[in-house]
Every structure is written in structure tokens, then in C-alpha cells.
Symmetry: C2
Subunit: 341 residues, 2 copies
Amino acid sequence: MNLRRSHFLRLIAAAGASPLLHTLYHTSTAAPASAAPAATEPLPSWNPGQVKSAITDFVRRTTTPGSPDFIPVEDRIATFDNDGTLWAEQPIIQILAIQARLEMLATADPTLRQTQPFQAALTGDAAYFATAGEAALMQVIALTSANQTDAEFAAQTAAVFETATYPRFDQPVTAMVYQPMQELLTYLRAHAFQTWICSGGGIDFIRVIAQPLYGIPPQQVIGSSLQKDYRAVNGTGQLWRLAEIGRINDKAGKPVGIDLHISKRPVIAGGNVRSGGDIAMLSYSQGRSEVSLQLLVNHDDSDREFAYQEPDDASLNAASANGWQVVSMKNDWKTIFAFQR
Amino acid sequence: MNLRRSHFLRLIAAAGASPLLHTLYHTSTAAPASAAPAATEPLPSWNPGQVKSAITDFVRRTTTPGSPDFIPVEDRIATFDNDGTLWAEQPIIQILAIQARLEMLATADPTLRQTQPFQAALTGDAAYFATAGEAALMQVIALTSANQTDAEFAAQTAAVFETATYPRFDQPVTAMVYQPMQELLTYLRAHAFQTWICSGGGIDFIRVIAQPLYGIPPQQVIGSSLQKDYRAVNGTGQLWRLAEIGRINDKAGKPVGIDLHISKRPVIAGGNVRSGGDIAMLSYSQGRSEVSLQLLVNHDDSDREFAYQEPDDASLNAASANGWQVVSMKNDWKTIFAFQR
């Protein structure tokens, strides 16, 4: 319960820091950023250095037949957080989508602008939600992404990805993917690793975009979920999204989600610094009986992306204590976004 | 709630019909039955006829490039029920495992034999559970498969598969797989279908055996689950099995489970006649916008397997109304179990 509340409050807090909604509905077409081909040199958007070497050394050691650290193909599982690890999270893109959906509904029904909690969500009033709590948040979630069929939600989400732009950079939201991480996913798959997303964000939201953006099929996405039931809608059996949380896939919920969907500890796990949300996943990966690799993306590049820390530095402290690789966006990444090339 | 209760009561009812526990711990080694090689003729354990033709025609139409019914590889999802569809369910093998575990615990602590609800579970007293309800069942589940780590449960389950034998046939439980269905799984994978299990049984129980028995990796098993948390056990982060139901993957819960794990309607879905447990899954498959195939195994062979019906014939009526293929074990299967060859 505590976990659930803190997660959504964090989401809404991030929304409060987000820019004006009118930047969302530009008419630009969001072409997915394409990963640069690996060609001869693997990971071309990564600068040479300790982190890049750690990655390529690990993949060589674990995939070369006869190597003492060889890992059978069926165990080559790699899991990655999404927000802040594979794409930008200042603001969180799903929050933009929720606000955009609310804005669209408020255009059709202007009374929403004077009705709480929708007014607070539309204006990014984090203080309201800090007081009103989970019930208020569920009202927003219910209005924007529950009480509808899965197919309706997917169509609505696809429309967001086709039209929404990201503040500060004024780029399609789909351009906010980190090119070095796209390359890493491709590189791992070329070595027969299964690449999975394990995100605190909504499982069905990410599934709409995971294949075109990351080359990850929907069945390899793990995330937070609503309860659903199966019911007849217009004469056909449909999945119906209930206004009730199923599972929150954050912090200690990530190993639980990985177990539910994969039931193996990941050989490689990647997360990022912000909320301590990935510490449990990385420690779960490291707890496997054979070799493993943990990556922690640090947002230290205010020029090309953002610079922000955790209040308590828990993720960086865990990385230091456990020998996880800290990826400095500033130093380890030659290119961050394809549009910056 | 209703679904949950009826499911477990049904499981325990099945346990009541199961034979004596002393047949369980024979010293035989359970070698997984191997699927007969497909060689030139596909599905050699299937008799020629309308059902076999429907399967091979469907696979040819959907996997031949240029065919109007061609299905892209990423959408070739096939889901199968387990108990009664892939292996025998009279009695349900997981119930044998639960009773065997209880028997082992009662040997160490004989007071369990005089303590309810364990006494009722040990003696297969279905009437007791019909009165005592869900709380009593959860006590049995908790003692036998909760309040321990995932690793402990997996080891315990593996031991069952290595030692337990199946009543009536006096075979290792792993020999109770249907050879025609093993062939079908292999045949589908040879045509780039992903084969998944979608069972009312326990997800972690089936995952122990799915790869060696069916060639299905653990991440392609969907089933009923307990709640878990991630906690430190002896200094390492472990998944801990709580004595609390997570999800019941039966009846309308099957489309919900498929959506959670795959998020696509199956192209092929297979279930069986007994409890109506697969009707929703088969209708969910048929609800996809393109072509699909539904198979319903009918247990009509008292000589080689078992003959039993549903009280209300709901599954057969649904098959008839919707054009699902009814697989007669008696007529469509040349061989049922490998040990009968």
C-alpha cells in the first residue's frame, strides 16, 4: 500500500514539474528513432572506457563456447527499467499521456476543469494529490485509462505516440529514447540475450511502443498493471480495464514481476538513478549463482539531457557497495539522442 | 471470490477421488516421455481424419508466404491448457504433489494426521473442505507450498517429478503426457508458433517441468499464482511465497492471464472437456480479427485413458455452436501415452 501510494505520488509529482500541455499536440509525426547499425565496432554511441569494456567483456565471456563463464542461451535474460534508463523521464512520458488524455476529455466536457481531482491533474497540482491521496489518483487513472477495453486504451495510447512532443527538446516523445541503450539492446540480442523491459510504468502503455522503439515484443514487457476482467462488450469477449490496481512493478515489486513473467534471475539488469526504484532488481540479478552484470545510468549531463540526483544517493551507494557499473551519460555516451547527432 | 473458491474446491474434490498415497513414492525414475520424431509425416500419433486435417490445413494456410491467411511470425501464439489437455488429470498431478508433501510432513510430525484441515487433506475428505471453505484450503496451501522461498518450492516440486507415480497406470507422473499433444507442440514450433501453457494449475509447479516435458520455457507458462514478496533470506534477496492467492488462472481468468503475459489473442488455443475451464480461452482466441483455430480434447477413451463428461456439457455445446474442433481421444489419437506403444 505504501509502495503503491508513493509510486503514484512520485508520478504525479513528476507531472507537476512538466511543462504546459499545449506543447503536447503539435502536428509533428513521431518517427521512431532508429538505432545506429552496429557495423564493425559494437556500441558506437558509447565512448571507450571502463563501462563499455565491462559490457563487451562480459558479453564475450558469457557467450563464447568453452569460456568458464559461458551461459546457455535459455538463461541469457536481460531486464531494463524504462523511464530514465531507456528514454527520458523529465517529465515521465506516461504522465504527459495522462495529462493529454485529460485535456482532450476536458475539451469535450469543460466542467472537468472545475472538478477535482481532474483540475489538479490538469494543472499539475502535486500538493493536491499529496493531501488527497490514492483515491484521488485512482479517479484520474480511472477516467483516463480504466473503464474501457484494452483495445480502446491501446488505440488511445498509439495516438499519443503519434502526436505528442516532449518539452524542452520539442521532439516527438518517441525521439526521447537513448541511442546508446538502443544499441545495447540490439547488441545483446545479437548475442542471443532475451531483452525485457521491467518498468514501474504501465505495462499496456509500454507495450504499444516497445516493439517499434526497442525491438522488444509485448510479451517481454513487465510493468505496473490494472486489474482486468473478461466480459462481453458489444457481443464480443474483451479485456476490460478496472479502476483497481493489479500490481505495482517498482522497487521490491520488480523482482516479483520478473519472477511472475520470467521466473529466472536476470543475467544483466539495467536501471537508473532517481528514486532507488531499480536497486532491488539489480540486487536480484546479482543474487544469481553464476556471473551477472548490473548497469546503473546516472543523469549527469545537464547540457545534452538532464542532471539530477537522488536525495539520499541510495542507488549510487548500492552501486559502489556492490560493484555495479555506473553509466555516466556525460562521459560514457558519445551521443544521447539521435536528433542531437 | 466465487471463482477462487470453486477452483480450489474442485481441486480438492479431485484429490478426494485420488488413490492411496503409498503409490506415490515408488523408487522408479521418471524419465520424461519423448515425443516421437515427426519424420516425414506430421503428427504420427494422430489418426487421419477431419481433426488432423483441420490442424495441418490451418498451419499450412497460416504459415505459407503469399497465402491470404498468412500470419506474421510475431503473432503466431498458441496457448494450451495443461491438466487434461497436455497430460492426464484423473487425478490432477498437482494434487498428488500436495498430498505427497503433506504425507512427508506428517511423517516428520504425526500430529498433522489428527489436526484439521490436514487430516482431511491427507484422507481426501472433500466434504470437510466443502464445509470449512477457503480458509481451510489456504492452510493446506500455506503448509505445503507457501511460507518458503521460490527456490525451496522448486526443489520440492522437482523431487515430486523424480519420484511420484501415477495411479491406475503405475507410471511416473511425467509419463502421463499425451504423445499426440507433444507432437502437436513440436509441429507448431517447427512452423514458428510460440507454444504457451495457460493452466488453472500453479504457475511455479508447471514451470519446473514445462521445458523437459513439453519443450516450453518457464517464461511461456501462465498459471494460478500465490502473492510473493522480495525479502532477505539468510542474507540474500529471495522471492518469498505468501499464503495469499495472487491470481486464479481459470475460466474467465485465462484470457486475463494471456493478456497479462502475452497481450495478444492466441491464434491457436487448446483446452479440454471437464469443467468448462477453457471456454473463455477458446472464445478469446476466436475473437481475434483474423483466422484462428480452437481445439477441445474430449475424454472418451475409458480403455486407454479415462471417459468423463461435464455435468452440463457446456464445453461441447460451445464447440458445436462455434465450430471448434473436438478431439476424440478414442478416434483421433493412434497412441495416447508413449508407454502404451
